[in-house]
């Protein structure tokens, strides 16, 4: 088989092969452990270096403005590796590089404690990283699908580990099933596009898509949305996320939540927006609706969780919803040719993608540290970690503030841009009143999401880290190793830095977004691309800006002044908490479940909570001895959609089983019947 390896770009000629070599070495190192004390340490270290290389590649592409291409290997005329990293890919590569490096370094410390059985799947880790990079750069449909499959399989292997328990195995199967359903949708969509284009090259797809009849374009769009939406974790295709993310090792969860679900976002932008081009208005409204539903429901279900990692998994769904809201506006805007608005909305979506990779990784890594140190991830029995694990707590608080969209951190900047996109769509005269109303409704939805996210993270941080420990495990916690602490702190610092420097960063991303929108505009009437001021984020509606750095500085100055004048000179006397005269104990503190009670009542019609209280009395008396409470929110989509589908599938499989009753004669009869039918048809 002819195999060629060619790299063409200025300055990045060394990086791509270097990254490939490092990842290969990492895979080998995982198979043949070098050191006894930390068998996977070398592999993870090499992976970390490779991620830094990927980050460097992204930076190089952005600085030079030239895409990097490479081709390697071909099977039956289909390219195996055929990549073209342009500036859109570069943003996702940046996210991959940072999150990957942090997770790998964290993993060095994390797997030192982990059981050796789980580690045997560690060879999948470098494969996972490689496949992610290939997905973000694939220039050929076959190469894309190949990388997509490898990504799915390697992440499933990492989630499940080498010898999993029954629950973990089920989660892995569920994840594999859903991701393959998504892949089927993608294959059909790509097949339609490829048959219209005559080749599997993405460049040809773009040209061919413009010539497709509208109904076919609609069908392709829906298939792409289903396929990429499942990977992204959009409602109602999100059900695999809360099952798979909590059971994976923490550095893998961070990578999955921070980067892998963004592959779905990348797919929607690349294939839906860039390749399919401007579409009907209902496309944008559908994405907007899916985004709002994911955002609101994601955060509501997160509020009902007391498993820290499941809570974070639902929050990933919420943030994907916010990204989809931005994308929905971008689709609406390109549909009517309002390119400035499209650029603003796309900037919001891309910026939030980058931000989410950062703060979600911090949160998952911190959750992993907590689980390793305290032995549990149930918030209801944690607490008091602020004194026992101060660095982890600080990283978690910063991550929580960032994800809640509080100024001056990075989450607020991208949410500000998303709001501006929605307002712009509401004001855009070229859109129909229905689309404008949808955007304005989405403002209410996004506001609700932001406020509920604040509630959820006050709960997670306050109950999990503050006050007194609620269990012996939590009291015995101690700060984790430096390998685990350093990446968390670095990512948290990055959140702060990106928040304060949001102006220049948003301007840079806006340039990329304008490029993407401009290439869409090549198929539709062109309009000037967005320009942004460099020191502030913006401009939004009517020229409004958000001077992130200035506001952050002013907040710091005023807060410090207040602290130096009023708080520092008057240190407080520490006394036991007043609990109406009883000796204070952890049982007085609010738990995660009780904290969410009012929201559970307010949103009861959506959450449909169930509650079971069993009381055991002292024998012969009416006085209770133990009271047991069990409550949970019912996941309506799981119950009403997936369970019946699951039962139908199993039922159909049972029926199909009857076809295989083991009789050799029957199988021969099948063969003869098939032959006869073929002969009849071939006539």
């Amino acid at each position: 088989m002819p195999s060629e390896l060619s790299v063409a770009a200025t300055g990045s000629g060394v990086i791509l092969p270097l990254v490939a070599v490092l990842l290969g070495l990492a895979a080998l190192a995982a198979l043949a452990p070098v050191s006894r004390a930390n068998p996977r340490g070398l592999s993870l270290g090499l992976s970390a270096l490779a991620c830094l290389g990927i980050f460097g590649l992204g930076v190089a592409v952005l600085i030079s403005g030239e895409p990097v291409t490479a081709q390697a290997g071909s099977v039956l005329g289909f390219a195996v590796v055929h990549v073209r990293f342009d500036s859109l890919s570069a943003i996702f590569l940046l996210a991959l590089g940072v999150a990957g490096a942090a997770s790998s370094v964290y993993g060095i410390g994390y797997t030192a404690h982990a059981s050796p059985e789980r580690d045997r799947a560690a060879v999948a880790y470098p494969l996972f990283l490689a496949s992610l990079a290939l997905v973000f750069g694939a220039d050929d449909a076959f190469a894309f699908l190949l990388a997509w499959e490898v990504m799915a399989l390697s992440s499933a292997a990492l989630v499940v580990g080498a010898s999993p328990s029954a629950g973990v195995a089920r989660a892995g199967y569920f994840y594999l099933a859903m991701t393959h359903l998504a892949t089927v949708a993608l294959i059909v969509a790509f097949a339609i596009l490829a048959s219209a284009a005559g080749s599997s090259d993405l460049a040809a797809f773009g040209a061919a898509a413009a010539g497709l009849p509208p109904l076919t374009r609609d069908v392709v769009f829906v298939l792409l949305l289903v396929g990429f939406g499942t990977k992204a974790g959009a409602f109602p295709l999100h059900v695999w996320l809360p099952r798979a993310h909590p059971v994976a090792p923490s550095h893998v969860s961070a990578l999955m939540s921070g980067v892998m679900i963004k592959a779905g976002v990348y797919g929607i932008i690349r294939f839906g927006l860039e390749i399919l081009g401007p579409g009907a208005e209902w496309w944008g409204i559908l994405i907007l609706a899916v985004g709002v539903a994911s955002a609101v429901l994601g955060v509501l279900y997160a509020l009902m969780e007391h498993d820290l990692k499941r809570l974070l998994a639902f929050h990933s769904i919420e943030n994907i919803g916010i990204i989809l809201i931005g994308l929905g506006v971008a689709f609406l805007a390109t549909g009517v040719g309002s390119m400035t608005l499209a650029a603003v909305a796309l900037t919001a979506a891309l910026f939030h993608t980058l931000n989410h990779a950062l703060f979600k990784s911090v949160l998952f890594l911190a959750a992993g540290s907590v689980q390793a140190a305290a032995g549990t991830r149930d918030l209801n029995v944690l607490g008091g970690l602020v004194r026992l694990m101060p660095i982890t707590t600080l990283a978690f608080v910063v991550g929580a503030a960032a994800i809640s969209g509080l100024p001056p951190l990075n989450g607020f900047a991208s949410e500000w841009l998303t709001f501006q996109g929605l307002l712009g769509a509401g004001a855009e005269q070229a859109l129909s009143p229905v689309a404008r109303s949808a955007s304005l409704l989405a403002i209410g939805g996004l506001g609700l999401t932001a406020a509920l996210a604040v509630a959820c993270f006050v709960k997670a941080t306050g109950v999990g880290f503050l006050a007194l420990p609620r269990s012996p495990g939590a009291s015995a916690a101690h700060e984790t190793s430096r390998w685990m602490g350093a990446p968390m702190v670095a990512l948290a610092a990055a959140c702060v830095a990106l928040g304060l420097a949001a102006g220049p960063v948003a301007a840079g991303i806006a340039g990329i977004a304008a490029g993407v929108v401009g290439s869409v505009a090549a198929a539709a009437p062109a309009a000037p691309a967005a320009t942004t001021a460099v020191t502030s984020v913006g401009p939004g509606l009517g020229g409004a800006v958000y001077a992130a750095g200035a506001i952050g500085l002013l907040l710091f100055v005023v807060a410090s002044a207040t602290w130096f004048v009023g708080i520092r000179p008057r240190p407080a006397r520490r006394v036991p908490t007043w609990t109406c005269g009883i000796v204070p104990e952890p049982a007085f503190e609010y738990t995660a479940t009780s904290y969410g009670k009012l929201i559970r009542l307010y949103f009861g019609r959506i959450l449909r909570p169930t509650r079971e209280i069993t009381v055991e009395l002292h024998p012969g008396t009416p006085f209770p001895r133990t009271v047991r409470y069990h409550g949970e929110a019912r996941h309506v989509v799981d119950e009403r959609v997936y369970e019946p589908l699951h039962r139908m599938a199993v039922g159909a499989a049972q029926m199909a089983r009857r076809l295989q009753n083991g009789s050799l004669q029957l199988y021969l009869a099948y063969a003869v019947a098939a032959l006869v039918i073929l002969l009849v048809l071939a006539r």
Binding site: G444, G447, L448, L466, R574, W578, F588, E589, Y590, K597
Partner: protein, 321 residues
Amino acid sequence: MMEGPTFAETLVLGTIQVVLVLLVAPLLLGITKRVKARLQYRRGPSVLQPYRDLAKWWRKEAVESDTASSLTAVAPAIVLAAFVVATLLVPIVGVRPPLAGWGDLLVVVGLLALARFVLALAALDAGSAFGGMGSSREVAVSALVEPALLLALAGAALAAGSTDLGVIAQTASAAGTAWFTPALLLGAGAFAVVAVAETGHEPVDNPDTHLELTMIHEGMLLEASGPRLAILLYAAELKLVLVAALFAAAFLPIGMADRLSPVSVVVAVGAMLVKLAAAAVVLGVLDATLAKLRILALPGLLATASIVALAGLAARLWLPA
């Protein structure tokens, strides 16, 4: 573009605004309490009492729980900083805010969220049930308030074509009576309900209650004492000014100065004092005449506010001009 105040004029007007707002904030609370007392056939405390209260709390010793972390010490500073910066972003005296071009109404809403996050988190630091109670209720009620707040302000922003509060105020002053369309009035009505909820007055919250079971905002302040409590109480008073100023800037922007002349400054300062005092009086009347709604009835009230705000937005889109 419309001509507004120059940078130097904005600076001077802004300084006047800052000084006045910081001085006047506790007075508004005094007016509210006095009005409420009079309506209850009491004489009531002097309107200057909140100043004396702040001084009293400043002199007292600070006491904190032995389970508290450094968050309890830092929280009052962050909360006050958030409200101070937010107040600087809202135009009250001049038609441009003191920090013109630093942020718009979304930043103000974000700063309110920052203050709420820090305060709710600090309430859980002491490990007492009261803090948890106040904290969980506050975040739940705020979740209902936020959509109505954003939708009401979005109506004003769309009418003016910008989210920048200075531009909204300038557009509104220039438009005169044509500003008060039915759509805007609906938004103003929704914002009025939101304002009552945000400042924690009847019928959403009882600011004078000492029963833990009926507290929302007060529950988060229970563990604070000494200078920290003074800072938090002052921050709450500043929040009242902020919300009233936001309402005035978006829905009732009359009397603001668009240039630096003695007449316009006097008129603007007078208008500001009248507007703030009117807000305080209205809250006092509400405190005295309405009973606190059951906490489970709050979604009904706030959903109605959201629907009214949405009706305002829909009116802008669907009703012919």
